[in-house]
Symmetry: C2
Subunit: 456 residues, 2 copies
Amino acid sequence: MYNSKETDYACILKSQKSDIGGINMTVEEMAREMKLQAPHMGATSAEARNSALEEIKNALTAHKEDIFAENHKDLDAADESGVADAVKKRLKFDEGKMNSVIEGLDALQKLEDPIGKVTLNRELDEGLRLVRQSCPIGVIGVIFEARPDALVQIASLCIKSGNCAILKGGKETINTNRILFKVIKEAIAKTELPDGCLAQAESHAEIDELLKLDGYVDLLIPRGSNKFVRYIMDNTSIPVMGHSDGICHIYVDEETDEAIDIITDAKIQYAAACNAVETILINKNVSDEFLKALAKRLRSEGVNINATPDMKERMGDEGADATSITDEDFDREYLSFALGIKFVSDVDEAIEHINRHGSHHTDAILTHNEDHIERFMQLVDSAGVYANCSTRFSDGFRYGFGAEVGISTGKIHARGPVGLDGLMTYKYKLYGSGQTVEKYATGEKAFTHREIPSDG
Amino acid sequence: MYNSKETDYACILKSQKSDIGGINMTVEEMAREMKLQAPHMGATSAEARNSALEEIKNALTAHKEDIFAENHKDLDAADESGVADAVKKRLKFDEGKMNSVIEGLDALQKLEDPIGKVTLNRELDEGLRLVRQSCPIGVIGVIFEARPDALVQIASLCIKSGNCAILKGGKETINTNRILFKVIKEAIAKTELPDGCLAQAESHAEIDELLKLDGYVDLLIPRGSNKFVRYIMDNTSIPVMGHSDGICHIYVDEETDEAIDIITDAKIQYAAACNAVETILINKNVSDEFLKALAKRLRSEGVNINATPDMKERMGDEGADATSITDEDFDREYLSFALGIKFVSDVDEAIEHINRHGSHHTDAILTHNEDHIERFMQLVDSAGVYANCSTRFSDGFRYGFGAEVGISTGKIHARGPVGLDGLMTYKYKLYGSGQTVEKYATGEKAFTHREIPSDG
């Protein structure tokens, strides 16, 4: 949960001042300044950006006791306000979280520089050459849930990719965020990176300010509850990268040896994750034995089964205590040890159900039938379409991207798990020698449109 | 101008019925149906999509006299309501426009199929293979100004890229749009493409309906006046591809032989285009002779000069009738035979002016100084950064893209001139053989993350 008063987003005071890096600026002033700094950040060398990651790693290690102490203050405050244990786990920043943050910083340094990659090199005419080259997006606003490790992870992804970032963490970890940000800023000050490449926003009111700054902020990445992400998407004209729902499906086209293991893994391996399965669609031709074994296994793992009446019936005794649901109940994201289950008559009905009720995140088919696999993968309109494995694989680390900012269900720009590439755009550079368009319009000159080989 | 009553967008009746392909459906019903059709459109073969383009070409040729007759009705109506000649030129669909539409359809058929390109092929572990493959975006809403040739061009780009499209043309060419759409639909009916892959919206109220359909429409492409594009951007949470302003700059770092030709071309070759230059920044060290020659040439071409007082003074007699402007007057898009002109002290001041006042579209530097060229290209935050040529080159045909939907100043997804690539997204296909995540989480198994060669 990002915020305990989730309905209050729209009715809070505007233009509140926030102490950013020691200077009193509004978010708007900060973003305007950052917009002009951003091209300079994009022009820094890979060495400078990697050495900033190294400095941050060393500074975090050197200040770790102070960081843990500040985190204890946040945990104590959470205890006082009776925060649930599951949430407290996300607030905690301990030796274990520190180690994975440090590992992340090491891995990020090793990744190839994403800036300046040439993706088109074309002679338009003699003496007129077009080059398309990758460059950072610019100013990114990151609004994240109460996970202090996310602050470090996203700040370092922005640094590696040459982007400037405004970071707004959850108030539940205000002390931890503050010291982490301070340590990171001091580490950056030792490098060649522009001082203003990172800024912190602390007050909740600043979220609404941030949403209005479409002239200065190029991209928003919200990391929080569905309701919060939806609020962001509905209240800004700045592009938003992310997803609100994660209604993932598994369609059992036929019984396979691993089907029950895969369904169980996809549900319970981390039930609160967006890539956990929520709906199981089962071909009506599978055996009653399979249905009974599936129900038995799910029950033994503590999963609540929500099934259509015909499904309950065929599950026999194992389905006796399942909750009865109807076809209208399949737009639900449980995010807990619970799932919905129903029959479909064939792969096409499964595809249609998923395209109608899903959230275009990740959906899987379990079958040995190659034709059904290809049809499912072709026609299911989701960022991830899987055969014979768990939906939980939908993740930047598991895909081998090294680091991720999150998962996108949007189709514009990055889709699926988003790594460094999702933080890049490109620009076209045109090198001329006096050319005007008029001569090509009249036919006096003609374009050659010749690709220049990469060694040319 | 898209519409003579531009302020009325928000206050028109909702849920008006429109006759789409002969069936009365609301835009919402149409879009919901199309969303389910879209994966099937994406699964059609390149041959089927190319043969649809061929059928459309033949049908347009066969019905050209009927089309011209309908267009005459629109032109007569325009005459009656006193539409300006410049606008009438855009409404006209004559032999010349027909020929370029036919040429476009031919060129499009020859372009490579953009669907199914593999951009990642990676073994995550033995028996677990990840493939990233290009696929169409899905349902695209195109709202365009009163240019009937744009209807054909954009419909054919959507067909080639396997997207479904809802087309809303301007009311000024309602008769022409109606017959063009009918001819295209009849041509598609002869092919294997789904009948519902294209739909037409005719009533103005449907624009506002369309803007709300973020569950069904994946992308909006508005083609119209700045004010209209801005209205679309501000009133939808659907991603919008395009640009509102085109405030392009030329910075004269030093006098070059072609500088005056380039500036003149960039201003007058097509003054109403978004890539026409609006602001000239001049290094204060250029000679008075250059300034006088520039002013003389612009005046002789009929260009109104808006200059700062110091610029006017150094232009001498040639600048005597120039309009005096101040530093506050440089956020203006003239879109006519007029431009603003001022001094800057060096390349850095030019870069800062452009990043602050520009629209991130296309900006050029004129100089022989290689360092200044590289600094300008690195630090100017625009989709196109040019050296020693006209800003008017910023165009899909001139870049060799064959066809374009428009120019994007957004940094998310396509930037600059947008061809077929901008209408594509990708999906991740994961082929497993029973894998669960738990075994990788516990360390029982480890990822191999091995790239599979393209012939593997």
